[in-house]
Each structure stands twice: as structure tokens, then as C-alpha cells.
Symmetry: C2
Subunit: 217 residues, 2 copies
DNA sequence: GTCTATAGATTGATAGAC
DNA sequence: GTCTATCAATCTATAGAC
């Protein structure tokens, strides 16, 4: 009985985060009220401030829950690429690096059935005009971008810092846009009959950005 | 004297649009209040509803003012490319099409000194989570995208509809992200010493996306 | 056309009973 | 931990004097 009770308790916090993720992904941070979140979660309005303290802290929690394991997986794959390259005494391959950066975003969204909103959420967070979102997101993303930049510099030593910087940002922009189009409320954009299944999109995307990344001057 | 007076009058409407453009670009549609706009414009709060009727109509006016001449220029350049290709009895070139689509966005922002915010505004509008913005923007953009799609299908007949669809959206995503990074409040992102002048960015971008666009299967 | 004043709705956050 | 009730601030939009 006690066990059941505590289960229900932690469920409140989780319900709020799930509902917030859903709403933030669709309507953005500013466009989502705490009432919309608690309404969808089926909990009391005051519960947000009890469990999180403020809307901003809730946003941080929602983002961190997804970004932390995501970036862990990216780091793991970066290490793997580096190790393999060292073993073969070759440079790491640009395409593998891009795959390591891109694929986890899409696959994390697939694996957890309750979090299809994850892809949209991240896709939106990258570009949300709100100051709070941008600062929180960049705080979590800066170090993985630095690492990506470093890896790519090793893979393509012929390119200048500027070129690598811009091409990586083009990659991020293309990825974020693809993530938003994959979201349920954006299918309107897709032509009738266009394939929007995740694995196909990933394949198209990686082909596109690795060609662009490796272009000669 | 009458002349001067009427000049001041139309200035009110323009001031509001300029201020709105500035604020929408920086804080998004939801994140910008009418008070912030009229405050910056130095006009009365009620003036917005007198001149435009609502916040939504103001947004439409602000977007339309820029998008209309922008898409006119794009169409003009598309025609030019088609004509030249017909004369030479060749297919239109993918890279030229991409240039015709991308360059005007950046150059329109440069030419009008009072509208550096233009680039940021468009870059944000593409991805704004707000329903109002998305619907207004897509209403204005659908036909030019259809045309772009058609031109590119002619240029690259070997690619399937799906592939062209996705690659064009990757292009738009990369472009929009580049436009946001070029905005004043995002320079924080750029590494110290990274070139963010417009013409260099355009060059990098076009090189990147045309390589990706033309990739073989 | 421009102003003041305000209606009417919604927001994030909190106090206090249970 | 969860609830009701509410505060204080902010928002869009409008009515009416000038």
C-alpha cells in the first residue's frame, strides 16, 4: 500500500513533465500556460510550483531529462570513432561523426513510445525565440558542440575553422528543420505521398550533410 | 505645413511596423507585447488597433512588406534561369536555382539600412512555434516553394520526388539557421574570430547545399 | 488620428486548509 | 502532497473625449 502510494506520488511529477514536453513541443515555451500543462496532466495547478518551483525550472527539467542521455550516447559514439581511427592510424571519418551526432536524436524519440514529442521538442528548442529557452538549451549543448567541432576538425584538416563552424551550423539547421517537419502537426507541409518515416529521413539527411560537409573549397 | 503633417501621420504606421519587425525578430510573436512595440515606436498603444485592427494583422503586414518583393525577385531570377536554359537547350542548373532562392533574402536585408532585422525576422518566422505565425508564413511561402520544387525537379530529373522534397527542406533549415546566427543577439554562438559577414556566409551556404542537393543516390 | 482610461481575459505564482 | 481560492501583473482590444 505504501509502495502504491509513493508510486502515484512520483507519477504526478512525471505526468507534469510529459504534458509539458508535449505542450512545449507544439506551442513553444511562451505559448504554453501552466494551466494547459496541468490540465493535460490531470493534476492540480499548484503542483507545478510545488514540484518544480517555477515554469523555468520545469523547462530545464524537461529538456535535461532528454538531453543528458542523448549527449551521453553521442559522446560514447564519438569515443568509439576516435578509438577505431587510432587503431587503424587513420583520421576519423566525417560521415561517421555526423551519424553519431544525428542518429541518436531520432532513435531516442523512437525507442520511448511515450516521447515521440521529444524530436519536436529538441527541434523547437534549437530555434525558440524565447531567451529562457535559448539560454537553457545552449548551456546544455555548448560542450557537445565543442566536441563535435573538434572531431570534425580532425576529420577534415584541410578546412578552415570558419568553414567547419558554418557547415556544422548548416547541419544543425537542416537537422532541426527535419525534426520539426517530422512532428505530427507539421505533416501538412509534406506533399501527399512523401515518406516521413524516421529512418528514411535520417538516411536522406546524413547523405545531404556529409556531402556538403566534405565539399572542397 | 499640411504636407509635413501628413508625412508625420504615415510615419506612425511605418514606425509601428519597424518596431514590430525589430521586436518580433528578437522575441518572437508571443514574446512581444503591443506595449513593447508602441513603446519602442514612440506612439500610443491604441494606434496599433487603429491602424491595423489587431496584433495578428500587424504581423501579416510586417511579413508581407518584406516577403512580397523578396518572392518577386526570386521569381524574376527563376524566369531568367529558365530562359537561359531554354536558349542553350540545357537543363537549368541546380546551383543557380539555389542561388536565386537564397541570395535575395540576405541582400534585401543589406540594401535597406533600416531593416537589418529582416533577415532575423524571416529566419525566425520559418520556425516560430506559434500557430498564427506558421499559418501566415506558409500562406505567403507555399507558392514559391512549389515553384522551387518544380525548377529543381527539372534540374535534377534523376532524383525522386521524396529526395528533392527533403533536400529542399534541409536547405531551408540550413538557411534559416544561418539567418538566425547572423542576427545581433546570436553572435554569442560564433567562436571568437568567426567571420559573420553576409557575403561570406552566403558563399559557404550555397556551396554546402548545392553539394548536398546534387548528391547521387 | 491621437490620446486616456479601462474593460475583460489570462498569466505565473502563492497562502493556507486539509 | 494535493487542493481551493486568490493575488498581482500583464495582456489584447475597445470606448469615448479631444
Amino acid at each position: 500500500m505504501n509502495k502504491r502510494k509513493s508510486l502515484i506520488r512520483t507519477d504526478t511529477k512525471h505526468s507534469i513533465m510529459d504534458a509539458a514536453e508535449y505542450m512545449f513541443a507544439r506551442n513553444g515555451y511562451k505559448g504554453t500556460s501552466l494551466r494547459a500543462i496541468t490540465g493535460r496532466a490531470g493534476v492540480n495547478l499548484a503542483a507545478v510550483n510545488y514540484h518544480f518551483g517555477s515554469k523555468k525550472v520545469l523547462l530545464e527539467a524537461v529538456l535535461l531529462r532528454r538531453i543528458q542521455p542523448l549527449n551521453l550516447e553521442r559522446r560514447r559514439r564519438f569515443e568509439e570513432i576516435r578509438d577505431n581511427a587510432r587503431k587503424l592510424r587513420k583520421k576519423p571519418e566525417a560521415e561517421l561523426i555526423l551519424k553519431a551526432f544525428i542518429e541518436p536524436v531520432f532513435y531516442f524519440g523512437e525507442s520511448d513510445p511515450g516521447s515521440k514529442d521529444f524530436i519536436t521538442l529538441i527541434g523547437r528548442a534549437i530555434v525558440d525565440p524565447d531567451d529562457t529557452v535559448r539560454k537553457v538549451f545552449h548551456k546544455f549543448m555548448r560542450s557537445i558542440f565543442e566536441l563535435l567541432f573538434k572531431m570534425m576538425s580532425e576529420a577534415l584538416p584541410g578546412l578552415s575553422r570558419d568553414v567547419i563552424f558554418w557547415r556544422l551550423h548548416f547541419t544543425i539547421g537542416a537537422m532541426a528543420h527535419a525534426m520539426r517537419i517530422c512532428s505530427p502537426d507539421m505533416k501538412e507541409l509534406a506533399h501527399s505521398g512523401t515518406a516521413t518515416d524516421t529512418s528514411a529521413v535520417i538516411e536522406h539527411l546524413i547523405r545531404f550533410v556529409s556531402k556538403g560537409m566534405k565539399a572542397r573549397r
